[in-house]
């Protein structure tokens, strides 16, 4: 089979795609391709990765137009002999394939990402009793596996249109806490997600759910937040 023609974003925001020829290898992932370029063609290529096995989420990049974990994207599954690799969208660019994740995590803080313990929920032994089969716990389970890779944020059209929009991951985090009966900051959190940049800005394009490598549905979480904030408004809680 012919070598791969790989176009990689180089430089900052005003950079450009640079073409490289990369030999094919067995079970080759896109992360392998990027690593091969750095080790054999240009050691100045910057990119981010850590675990290489789909646990950390740090190697997310835009591959052929869609955000993906490059370590879990096999070249053979992309089809064709050409690959275009760019940094994650909707985030400031540091250099080459490295996006600045700060705005993404700042928004987790904005929605009240940290858990705040509610008083009086813990039992005598210091633990709260949460039934695994309960409805709210199952709602938490549906969104809790997010590892903060930023794929959904990069895929979101609403973030592109409204840079202040909190985005799928932060709102998904808020939804898991809203459903946590031990959480003591429900009102503050629902208020935080109710502004112009909050859950109601979502257009339900479902790109986040379509592309989430963990198979989560932030769209569903955001829909839940819309319901919860509407009910809280009617009840005069927020």
């Amino acid at each position: 089979m012919p070598d791969l023609t790989v176009r990689v974003w180089r430089g900052g925001a005003d950079g450009a795609l640079v073409s490289y020829s990369v030999p094919r290898q067995a079970s080759q992932t896109v992360l392998d391709v990027v690593t091969w370029i750095q080790r054999h063609l240009d050691p100045t290529l910057s990119y981010r990765f850590s675990c290489r096995v789909g646990m950390c989420g740090s190697c997310a990049m835009t591959v052929n137009g869609a955000p993906r974990w490059t370590c879990r994207t096999h070249v053979s599954r992309l089809g064709g002999d050409e690959i275009t690799i760019e940094p994650l969208r909707n985030l400031p660019l540091v250099k080459d394939l490295v996006a600045d994740m700060a705005p993404f995590f700042d928004k987790w803080a904005e929605v009240g990402g940290p858990f705040v313990a509610k008083e009086g929920v813990a039992t005598d032994n210091g633990f709260a009793r949460v039934e695994p089969a309960s409805r709210d716990r199952q709602a938490v389970d549906a969104g809790i596996e997010c590892i903060g890779c930023g794929v959904c944020y990069s895929a979101c059209d609403t973030v592109a249109w409204n840079p202040k929009y909190l985005g799928p991951a932060a709102l998904n985090r808020a939804w898991t806490l809203v459903n946590d009966r031990r959480d003591g900051a429900r009102t503050e959190r629902l208020t935080a997600v109710s502004g112009d940049a909050g859950c109601h800005a979502c257009h339900t394009h479902t790109s986040c759910a379509e592309l989430c490598p963990k198979g989560l549905s932030p769209t569903l979480s955001i829909a839940g937040l819309k319901r919860a904030t509407a009910l809280a408004t009617v009840r005069g809680e927020i």
Binding site: W161, N162, D196, H200, A201, K226, T229, A230, T233, V234
Partner: protein, 104 residues
Amino acid sequence: MWIAQRASAAAMAVFVAVHLATMIYAVRGGLSAGEILGRTHGQVAWLLFYGLFVLAAAIHTPIGLRVVAREWLGWRGRSADLAASLAGAGLLVGGLRAIWGLYA
């Protein structure tokens, strides 16, 4: 605003369906515009129906236009809010005038 937009959308789902069904029925029956006007004059039920329809549209439209202005045109702030509100007010006034024409 989100609740207002969703509630007005739900109301309009009914209004639009009834409106379209009525239009199709009226046209198939071969009624002229004059004959339709003759039947709507003095009908409080039609006045209320289309009055609420216009009200729902006047609530729904400016909220949507404001979002379009913010996201597609990058037009934010009070000027965009005001422009969207004016569009809603225009719909309300124009719509109510038209309905009054049907009724009176």
